[in-house]
Each structure stands twice: as C-alpha cells, then as structure tokens.
Amino acid sequence: MTQSLYSLNNNLNTEERVRNITCEGRNITNNPVYGRDWVSLSNSLSVFPSVPVGLCRDKETVTHWKWKTFSIPSRNDNLQLFHWSKDGKEEEEDSFSKFNKESKIMKYNDAEYELISQEPSLDSSWSREETDLLFELCEKYNLRFVVVHDRWQGEKRSLEDLKNRYYTIARKLAEIRKFEPSMRNSVLFKHTQALIANPFDVEYEKLRKEQLEKAFQVSKTELVAEENTVREARQIEANRKRRTKERQRIQKLLARGGDIRHPASVHMVQSAEYPSTQKDASSGRHRSPQVVGTSSLEKQNRKGTFPRRKYHSGAFERSSILYTPVSNSQRNMRRMEALLEELGVGLRPIPTAAVVEEFDSLRLDILNYFEAERALIRKEWDLHNLKVKLAKLRGEEPPPLPAILEESSRKQEDTGAHTSHRKRRKRL
C-alpha cells in the first residue's frame, strides 16, 4: 500500500512540467498525499483503508499529459491558447469548430432596394438607414436576433419587428434575383428557395411568444388544476375506448352464437314450397327440393297467422317455427303444452310446410279458446255477483258459487293471486 503511494509520487516527481505547474502552493512534492495525517495513520491501526481506493494502481501504466498550444479555426486573430493533451495523441482540429456555422446573408444594392421599397405591402415606418443598420447587425451577429435586438439603437422596435423586416426584405430579394442554371446547386440558391417556401409569419410568432409567456406565468395551483384536468380527460378517453371495445366484442359474440330459436330470429314460414294437399302428403319424405317463387297471393294467404314473424333472407330449420311461442304469457304456454299433449298432437309434429302451418293455426285456435274461456269466467262472476245482490234485496240466502267459478278461484290461489302481480311483470 505505502509502496504504491510513493511510486505514484515518484512518478509525479519525474515529470518536470508537473512540478512547475501543479506543485505551486500545494506542497505535495516530497510529502505523502495526506501529509501529517498520513504519517500518523500509517503508524496506527485503522479500520479504514489507509489509502483511498482509487489510488491503488500498482500495475497500470501512467498516461503522460503535455501542455500544448492549439489553434481555433473559427477565429481569425491568431490567438494562441494552451491546453493539456495526452502525450502521443495527434493534434486534432478543435472539436467545437464544427458548430461554427455562418449563415448566408442576402445583401441588396441601391437599385434592388428601390425596387423593393415600391412594394405597397412593406412597412413604411422603416427608413433606408434603419434597414441598412439591421442588415449590418444581422451579418455581424450571424442572424442571432436576440443579440441584434440587444444592440439595436434608434427607434424602439420589438424582436418580431426586426425579424419581420429582415425576412420580408430577404424574401423579396430572393424573388427578384435570377439564378443561372449552373448556380442551382449553390448554398445561396437553396437559401433563397427556403426563404420563398417558408415566409415569416409575424402574427403567429407574436402569438407563440404570448402563449409561452402565459404558460411561464401560470401559478402552481393553476398548474395542478390543469394537470388534473388532463388526467381526467385521459381517463374519460380511455374509458370510452374500453367501452367501445367491449361493445364490439359483445356484438361479435352475439353475431356468432345468436340463438336461432329466439323469436326475433325466427323467420316467416313459406307456405308454398310443398303443395300441402292431403293426397300428396302421404309421400311426405320422398320429395326432392322444390323451388317456388313468392307471389303476392301467397303473402295474402299468410296474413292473419303470425304477424310478428318477418320474412328474412337466409337459412333456418323449419322446426324452429314449432318452438316459437305464440303467447307472452308463460301460464298460457304451459297450459297449451299440456293441452297439445292431451290432444295427441305433441310438441313436435313432423316439420313439413303443411304441418307447420296447421300446427300454428291449431296453436292460435287454442290461444283463442283460452281467451274465450277467460272472458266467460268474467261473465260468470258478473252473473254470480248480480245473483248475490238480488238475493240480498229479497232477503234470501246468497246462492252457492257455481262449480266453474270455484275451480277458477282455486286456480288463482294456486298461482298466488296476491303476489303474482309483481311476478307477472317480471316475466314480461
């Protein structure tokens, strides 16, 4: 450890230049780096490393540095400056000179200025002298308008005014100047092309600065409020997107797995594919497919059976019509099923065109029968109530409830007449 430190010091000592420059006022030439502290530390036990870890470089070669002069290409006053540079390394060009770009400044002559100043669109408050000064400053400070504005003397003008004046004149110049075809590749030509293509928009520039100023002046509370608003807006947008996606997904699912049995997707039956006469019906299954057009007559014939079934393009299985409910009332449908079984028809007769149509008309007949039955029971109740009233007037015992009414009232109790109102609504 100690050895390495000393060798480092020795190395330093051998370098003449180092002694000349770095040792001044530092007093580290012959002493250990940490002077008195180092001596005391080396004689005592310490839990800390006695030498900074970075200094323990036994085997590494030491780089030699030299104090050299260098040139600055971007200066033209032959200033001589020195810097430390690695020994043996070739002197390269100043790495900063690549940033030393000069822009091409368009210069006008008297004739051109006369021509340009004729333009009515030009700001007339500018004099020739002022313009000359502007162009001079622009050339001197290489179009750094902030500096130009700083050095501006005379009438007070804003930065944008200066910029606007310069670029308007330069653009007009670019428009006036004619270029030889051989000049087409020159930097100046490209510069003029750029000037013509991108006119300076002073209004936009003013607005931009104004907005920047405003943004800079925003207080902390306003900033927080704005951030919150932006966050909320993003949240809303994200939610909207998520919902749209979800909706699309559901629509896709529905389109694929939509139940063909659902009343809305069951199609109108065509009654005319097969002649549904009895004599032909016996050979039911031995018919090959037949094609029939839909005439208006057939449509009329269909009228009055299933108004809510619509004609759709597409394929379906005919038995689906057998399963389509004819009533919204579940109680009716249950009674209907029981009655169909009782009548020996069953729930699924063979689904040929004729049978399906007859089956539908049978089911409608049954539905009508249920309706009529209910109406009759209402009438019976009315009559019974009148009879009770009459008995009261006569001072007699009220007549007994007829059998049919007893039955109907028992049925109502069975289905829970008191609570069924809500249930019925739910079912619908």
């Binding site: 139940d259 063909i260 199609h267 065509q270 005319a272 594919e273 097969y274 009895q278 019906a281 016996s282 050979s283 039911g284 299954r285 031995h286 018919r287 090959s288 497919p289 037949q290 094609v291 029939v292 057009g293 839909t294 004609y311 759709h312 393009s313 597409g314 394929a315 379906f316 299985e317 005919r318 038995s319 009548l343 020996g344 028809v345 699924r348 007769p349 063979i350 689904p351 040929t352 065109a353 049978v355 007859e358 089956f359 049978l362 007949d365 049954i366 029968y369 009529a372 109406a375 009759l376 009438k379 019976e380 009315d382 009559l383 009148l386 009879k387 009233k389 009459l390 007037l393 006569r394």
Partner: protein
C-alpha cells in the same frame, strides 16, 4: 370440396327451397359388464331423408358435444356426417351445418341424445335406441350458386352400416295432419260449448237485472 364466395347482391330474391334431412342418434348398450363410464356406444348423424349424399350443399358439420368430451367440438368434413363416441349419459348435442356457399350462415340444430329406451321397454343389447327427427332446412332468398346446386339435387346415395336402424317417416306427415285436424275439431267443439254458455249467461243476466230493477223500484 366446393366453396363459393359471392357478394350479397347475388341472392335470389323471392325464391325458397326446402331440403328434408334427418337428424338422429343410434345408441348401443354395451351390456351389464361394460365399463361404468363407457356403457354405451352411440353415433349421432345428419343424413338425407333418402340416404342421399348431402355433401352437395353441406360443406361441413360441426358437432358440439358435452364439455366432458375432449375435444368437445368435432368437425366432420366428409359424408357421412356422423360421429361415434362411447359414454354413459344423455345430453343435448348441438349440430351446426355449414353450407358450401359462405354467404349462407350456418344452421344450428339441437339433438337430444338418447341412450335409454322409453320406460316400458327394457334396455337390450340387441336392439339399439334410435332417436331420429325429421327436419327441413329452409333457404329463403338463397345465393344464386347455392340455388343452382340445390336445383340440381343430390348426386348419389350413401350406404352405411347403421342403415338398417334408420326410421321411415313415410306417412308421418299425413298422420300428423290428421291429428292436428282432430285436435282442431276438439277445440272447435269446446269453443262452441263456451259460446252456448255465454248466450245462456246473457239471458240469465237479463232476467236477474230486470228482477233487481223491479225490486229496487218498489
């Protein structure tokens, strides 16, 4: 395999075609010594009503089995459109029929698989349980190509081993029509009875009302 792609414009408006098919299942009991989980071998199928080859208008048939089968979705691309499996339980098979014309959306049929005979009958090893349903596929405004194919009709018939168990639906339509006709007759008589009773009530009511009015005026 024939495939057709056509734009919606090529639908034939006003035309309707119906193709009779049979959906069915035949189940064999494998006897009392059979594995508890595989007590039956069954075959579910879609066939033509005269055993004709249906592949002239059906591209493929997808059988959706109970979830306990792996895989539960079976696709049959060649006739005969049938699958054979072993199992122990009954369930509803979903059969999706895809047509040669992509424009025509598939038709979904539900077939209840039956393994056990209807109660009075005893399970028997010799006699399989046959459950067949007659069905008609109805095409309304079919695409032109499909219409042409359907018009041409089936090209051939298929022979299968199970053929001897297939049911005959001849005369079924006439029978069912007759049943419906009788049922309608029954309903009509019931309706007439209701109407008669209704008239009676009207008469009775008139008398009662008159009586009440008379007593009320006294």
């Amino acid at each position: 395999m024939k495939t057709f792609s056509s734009s919606p414009k090529t639908r034939t408006k006003g035309a309707t075609v119906a193709v009779p098919i049979i959906q069915g299942s035949i189940a064999f009991w494998l006897g009392p010594e059979a594995d508890e989980w595989h007590s039956h071998r069954w075959t579910a199928y879609i066939r033509g009503s005269r055993n004709e080859d249906l592949s002239y208008f059906i591209r493929y048939v997808e059988f959706q089995l109970h979830e306990s089968f792996h895989p539960s979705k079976r696709v049959v691309t060649k006739p005969p459109f049938e699958i054979t499996e072993t199992g122990w339980g009954e369930f509803d098979l979903i059969i999706r029929v895809y047509f040669v014309d992509n424009l025509e959306s598939p038709v979904e049929l539900i077939h209840p698989l039956r393994l056990f005979p209807i109660p009075p009958k005893e399970p028997s090893v010799e006699e399989p349980v046959v459950n067949e349903h007659y069905e008609e596929l109805v095409f309304q405004d079919p695409p032109e190509e499909l219409l042409a194919i359907l018009r041409m009709g089936p090209q051939r018939t298929i022979e299968t081993e199970l053929q001897k168990y297939f049911l005959d639906f001849t005369g079924q339509e006439a029978q069912d029509l007759e049943k419906i006709k009788q049922a309608k007759e029954v309903i009509r008589t019931k309706m007439n009875a209701l109407n008669d009773r209704s008239k009676e009530i009207d008469e009775e009511r008139k008398q009662v009302e008159e009586e009440i009015n008379r007593l009320g005026n006294l």
